[in-house]
Symmetry: C2
Subunit: 208 residues, 2 copies
DNA sequence: TGAAATTTAGAACAAATGTACTAAATTTGC
DNA sequence: GCAAATTTAGTACATTTGTTCTAAATTTCA
């Protein structure tokens, strides 16, 4: 593992454990047994580290979504949506410091802010396409109003961005069950939009 | 207005505008045209200011909830729930810096953390009682499982804590409509639990 | 009025942090 | 083997921030 990778890995651990504001280049360097001057040669500031880790996460999310789409594009169903949620939520959990300091980071780092806003727009398109596929397969109602679609997307986006913050303060269960718990809670958001067939599939997934 | 009140008001404005981390006792003092030494005589640190403002918000929320309960306790319906949501969300919006830096503040200020966790437990009881009343009035289904109740409460809590963070990053509408938009989105979370009668009332509220 | 209490301004200090710089050490490529 | 490039350690500096202290100013109240 190269020096840059080691720095990023240690930064990720420290950010997750203590939050971005409590971690400085000096702390990271000390943990790695290197001088902070050297660390600043690779990454001039903590903001640069945060940005690099953010891009790592985006890459991994893209890869996961791409894997899912090519493999099962034609047979879209709730089980697929649930698995995709599990995969992406697990990645978010690995980079949870980004989500816990969400507003804070967005406010400070302009690059991440604009990148994320573009990402949300793209995510919206993906979600709309997914809804279309679920409608084709008779899983969600085909008479959804535009308002209903928009509200569902808004709720799903909000939940996806802040379930980790909620967990950090209130989740009382086992750490290993955390991602699954919130993925199932996410699925519940779709309840009002399902057909009877979709509802049956939904119950099968939740009870397994 | 006394000096303490003036300090708290200015702090609230600056915190809301710039976030807690970008504001120091020196900034607040400068804005008020007083020395920071003097400000520290009243509030020794920004954490003390945050804590005082947090307690202000809790007091106002308590007062609002108490007003609601005494006035309409016997005729609980969705319209009442909606109005209560509007009132409390408007207060949260006034103190929005607390919600935007939620995890950050919880992590740093132990008093607020423990106080909030107690608050959430109490809020849970209130919500359960409210659900009981809505069931009595035939607005939500009486055959809700414990799992369904818990999930609804979890979603409502998460939404209530983070709608302002979501708004800060993604809300594109008019500022005056913000609270109403999110209050209506909150109401949508209750959709899967309504009876037919409740659903009719729900539609009436949303379309008004 | 006048003494005590409270409030205010300003200075001073230590600690932390981002940033830049120098020179030594190490690696790379021919 | 050796010159160039890269990496590393260590130092230094300006800034910011919380915190404390002193003395002056103001208010309170008997």
């Amino acid at each position: 593992m190269g020096t840059k990778e080691k720095i990023l890995q240690k930064s990720l651990d420290l950010f997750n454990a203590n939050g971005t504001d409590a971690v400085t280049v000096r702390h990271i360097a000390a943990e790695l047994g290197m001088s902070h001057g050297n660390l600043c040669y690779h990454f001039p500031s903590t903001d640069a580290l945060i940005q690099a880790l953010y891009l790592q996460l985006v890459d991994k999310l893209d890869a996961a979504i791409l894997r899912g789409q090519t493999g099962q594009q034609t047979e879209m169903n709730l089980s697929f949506l649930y698995n995709m949620t599990l995969t992406t939520y697990d990645l978010l959990n690995q980079y949870r410091f980004l989500m816990l300091d969400f507003v804070h980071i967005m406010r400070r780092i302009a690059f991440i802010r604009s990148h994320y806003q573009q990402l949300t727009a793209a995510r919206r398109e993906q979600f709309l396409f997914l809804m279309y596929q679920l409608q084709q397969n008779g899983i969600i109602r085909s008479n959804l109003s535009e308002q209903e679609c928009n509200d569902w997307i808004a709720l799903a986006t909000l939940f996806g961005d802040f379930w980790l913050s909620n967990a950090a303060i209130l989740y009382a269960g086992e750490e290993v069950d955390k991602v699954m718990y919130y993925a199932q809670l996410f699925m519940r958001l779709g309840l009002p939009y399902l057909t009877e067939h979709g509802l049956n599939e939904w119950k099968r997934i939740v009870n397994s």
